[in-house]
């Protein structure tokens, strides 16, 4: 498939107009290679930790400090979890249909399935 994108937008300057130039100081550097971490933040006591984003850091202590600076500059959190991204296992989106299918025909799991007399009031 080849779709040519001709329209240029703010923040989307096409390559062919890029006119790259190399500054003389450009050196061939080794990559930093800091691993990727997922950041989870508890916004206040009593709530779950929620995924906030990810960042690179050399180790867990640095990941927590960086997470504080990147994700809680405005008091968005009181507790931070970090986990190296490579340890996160995820379900496969391609299997979503069959994977979640067993739940789709069980409406009786919801309270609204039961039609009770009005006299019962709150239940």
């Amino acid at each position: 498939m080849s779709i040519r994108i001709q329209k240029f937008y703010y923040g989307d300057i096409p390559e062919e107009k890029s006119g790259a130039f190399m500054p003389s100081s450009m050196a061939n550097e080794a990559s930093s290679g800091w691993p990727l971490w997922e950041v989870f933040i508890r916004s206040k006591q009593g709530l779950d930790h929620k995924h906030a984003g990810s960042l690179h850091a050399a180790d867990a202590a640095m990941a927590i400090e960086n997470a504080r600076d990147v994700y809680t500059r405005r008091q968005e959190g009181i507790s931070i979890w970090v986990v190296e991204s490579k340890y996160v296992h995820a379900s496969n989106p391609d299997d979503a249909e069959s994977f979640y299918d067993p739940a789709s025909d069980k409406v009786y799991r919801h309270p609204t399935f039961y039609d009770l007399p009005d006299e019962v009031k709150h239940m």
């Binding site: 240029f8 703010y10 923040g11 989307d12 890029s18 130039f21 080794a30 990559s31 930093s32 391609d94």
Partner: protein, 315 residues
């Protein structure tokens, strides 16, 4: 499923306003377009720290200095949110940074203009961040999930950037004749480059608009630019200043402001690397990256040593 079927179900998801997530199937061109756009956006945040960093040590008061530091720190954060979003599309941070530093990747040309006076800090906040916000608010609803989530976070933080800029100009506009002149001069220099931030005119494109169809973008350059002009043309009255455009006039029929022609030659020149500060900006980025190399290496070595010690203790 054939490629055609995959593309059809992909477009159906987009049409139904279902966000695309990193592991979902997507057309190559969708991936590439997002990757280029998100990384350019990230680079813009990072390079955008340079013109303002220029004034941190010379801010006129402790209050203004604290505000400016907070703003520059936000921009570093915004760059990081966006780099992380771009990485979900399968590129590495190192690759993106290398592309920025070699000049291969682009960033917003606005940051290739110099910040000559303190009033420029106000004008950058009000006009440059103001223009960026219009684009970013639209992008909160972009179809790629990680990009949209990064934009929501950014928009929450960005509003203070524009307000502090207007606030700084408002103080100057009520000051001495010299301060007023400095305020007007900054507006004169930043107005046209701000309009260029929205990119080329819609009429420059004849092909069908894939970015709109994929809902990466939801408004055209000209729509956003017009919105910006309408907004600023009103706000400037509160400053008692003028915009440097003799053709700027309210059009009661269209219910929009008419405005003059942008110097597109200047626009493409700056994009191509011939703006006032292109070279300086890239050199500053390269220098910072090179001088930080030993820190990155030391951090890794320290982490490895700590991990090794922990293993020994366990064993």
């Amino acid at each position: 499923m054939t490629l055609h079927d995959l593309e059809k179900s992909f477009q159906a998801k987009i049409d139904a306003e279902i966000k695309i997530e990193p592991k979902d199937w997507m057309p190559d061109a969708y991936r590439k377009t997002n990757l280029r756009q998100i990384s350019q956006h990230a680079h813009s945040e990072i390079v955008g720290m340079l013109p303002e960093g220029n004034w941190i040590t010379r801010a006129p008061s402790l209050k203004r200095k604290a505000i400016l530091i907070a703003k520059v720190q936000d921009e570093a954060g915004h760059g990081l949110y966006l780099y992380a979003a771009a990485e979900t599309l399968g590129t590495s941070r190192e690759q993106m940074i290398d592309d920025l530093h070699s000049g291969k990747a682009k960033y917003s040309s606005i940051f290739n203009y110099p910040t000559l006076t303190w009033a420029d800090m106000g004008a950058v906040g009000w006009l440059v961040d103001g223009a960026a916000i219009l684009n970013q608010v639209m992008l909160c609803r972009t179809s790629y999930g990680p990009y949209a989530r990064a934009m929501v976070r950014i928009c929450k933080e960005e509003s203070f950037h524009q307000r502090q800029g207007f606030d700084a100009l408002l103080v100057l506009s009520k000051g001495t004749p010299e301060q007023k002149a400095m305020c007007q001069d900054a507006i004169n220099r930043w107005w046209w480059p701000s309009l260029m931030m929205f990119g080329p005119k819609d009429s420059e494109s004849t092909n069908s608009d894939q970015s709109m169809k994929w809902k990466i973008k939801r408004k055209t350059n000209d729509e956003l630019r017009q919105h910006f002009v309408d907004m600023i043309a009103e706000q400037i009255k509160l400053l008692g200043m003028t915009l440097p455009d003799p053709d700027l006039k309210w059009n009661a029929e269209k219910m929009h402001y008419d405005f003059g022609e942008i110097n597109w030659e200047e626009f493409w020149n700056v994009v191509k690397g011939n703006g006032p500060c292109n070279k300086q900006r890239l050199e500053a980025r390269n220098k910072a990256h090179q001088e930080g190399e030993w820190v990155r290496e030391a951090a890794l070595a320290y982490a490895a040593k700590k991990a090794e010690r922990l293993q020994k203790r366990v064993a």
